[in-house]
């Protein structure tokens, strides 16, 4: 796989699936990454496209507004019917550009855990744009299906994430065999600003110890000594249920190829098994406690 440049659209499946990406320098100031981790990481948004419509997963930070709008305009036209799903509605990384995209593109619907989507993302300007309230919101429960475009037969499944910190959605696209995992499998970072952001083989930075530390020093600070066997069951169910060729996280490198995908699930399962209350003692985790 070639090294893609920052701010450049990547076509993951010809005419069907696109990656909008911005590379950030890690300096301890992003909540999604360990505060002591340096290097670079991609922040990812995805466009699932058919001739009669498109579906956008996540919208990026407001900081990347121009880049995201520019990349999106290279994938769809302004009149393409568009649906938007911010996978973590409470986080700035996923909702930052819902408003500006909605104003510029032909947004037809939102997918959210809560009704009245604009109430959750319309906060970046001096005034609200009340016209956005006319755009319907589809409320995601534990599981919902959605067709991309009109009568295309391309159906994606949106589900509540089996392991999460806050309200989070995962998406499975049967056509591309891609699992979009929002804030899970996000540990693929790099020492360099230009790198291969789409992995097809394992690399050093994805060692289990690194993954463990990454999880404990970010949103999964609470896992050690928790009842993780319950979580393992739910995660394994997803791995067994879906035919997954690509793991597409909301940030970090993508994992392509069935072997590499399986490796990530196996590693996660082993880590969670190690963390389970039957193997690890729970203890109070204070703020800034790094492991």
């Amino acid at each position: 796989m070639n090294k893609n440049k920052n701010g450049e659209v990547v076509e993951l499946e010809k005419d069907k699936l696109f990656l909008l990406q911005n590379i950030v320098k890690l300096d301890g100031r992003l909540i999604a990454f360990p505060p002591n981790l340096t290097g670079f990481a991609p922040l990812n948004c995805y466009v699932l496209k058919e001739d009669t419509g498109a579906f956008l997963i996540d919208t990026g930070y407001l900081y990347h507004k121009d880049s995201i709008l520019n990349q999106l305009s290279k994938v769809i036209s302004f009149d393409t019917p568009l649906s938007i799903l911010p996978t973590r509605v409470n986080e700035f990384m996923t909702v930052g550009n819902v408003k500006s995209i909605s104003q510029k593109f032909n947004t037809q619907s939102y997918y959210l855990a809560q009704p009245d989507a604009p109430d959750w993302f319309d906060f970046t300007d001096r005034e609200r744009d009340h016209s956005l309230r006319k755009i319907p919101t589809h409320v995601i429960g534990k599981h919902i299906e959605c067709e991309i475009g009109f009568k295309t037969g391309r159906v994606i499944e949106i589900m509540s994430a089996p392991l999460r910190l806050i309200n989070t959605a995962w998406v499975y696209d049967k056509m591309s065999k891609t699992l979009f995992t929002s804030d899970m499998f996000t540990y693929g970072v790099s020492k360099n600003p230009v790198d291969t952001w789409i992995l097809e083989k394992d690399d050093f930075f994805c060692e289990s110890q690194f993954i463990k530390s990454f999880m404990l020093n970010t949103r999964y600070w609470w896992l050690e000594g928790a009842k993780t066997n319950l979580l393992r069951k739910n995660i394994n169910h997803i791995f067994e249920k879906y035919d997954i060729k690509t793991i597409a996280p909301g940030y970090g490198k993508l994992f392509c190829g069935k072997d590499l995908v399986e490796k990530q699930f196996v590693k996660l399962d082993a880590i969670l098994a190690e963390f389970d209350v039957s193997n690890a003692k729970a203890y109070y985790v204070s703020r800034n406690h790094l492991r």
């Binding site: 930070y61 409470n90 930052g96 906060f123 300007d125 001096r126 910190l165 609470w222 928790a226 729970a282």
Partner: protein, 259 residues
Amino acid sequence: MHQNRLPREILKNIFWLGDCLVQHYQGKTYHSYNSSYLVVGKDKALLVETGHPKDFNILHEQMIKILDKKQVPLKYIFTTHQETPHAGGIARFLNLYPDVKVLGDVSDYHMAFPMFTDNFVSMEVGEKIDLGRIEFFAAEPVVRDIRTSLWGFIHPQRILFPGDGFAYSHYHWDGHCGKLAEEAESLNLFEVTSVFAELALFWTNFVDMNIYSERLIKLIKELNVQCIAPTHGLPIMNVEETIPKVIEGLHGPYEKIAS
């Protein structure tokens, strides 16, 4: 339609602001809050949390009326963490008050609100600012979600602002909106705390909460907390009487799974 019963002065110069958020769960309709609190010192005012994005205009009107009357300027905003119901209003406030400083763990804000990077001031546990006869401290966030959370504490009133801690909904149908926890007599604190934790604090389903409640009780003793002003729950004015019920509810999801 519900009638908003806020703002409310819960202690002298400490105002509870915001409006209810309606939520449905298993056939029941619950109300919860995404509250803000206005702390008015002799010289400066500080707003704890910026409220739910939907509430900005209401919250702002409530705040202006109080500050106009008190003739004290808004100087600071403190957010407990980087979720939109807590910090989503930052840009809208800074558009109107460009000199206001946003305090707390300010991670992510340079990306979320890049036009206001100079307004963000980092605080750590134990650091304080003086509002004039009231001091505001950053405190340890015992019950939290995002790793960058911080709690607030003010002296001499000894009020704790715990963000997502002490989170629970209330019964709109029984007139609890705008009431203090102790005034909402029919509120089953165990039930509403347990439901809130199960749904919004996913990790509490899997972690033995004894560890966290022990630390919570220790913190309350260390700081000699007299009142608690949560973002999602009703303010707690009788710590000794009410806290055990809330803590019992916090244990609810884990015990439900364990059983």
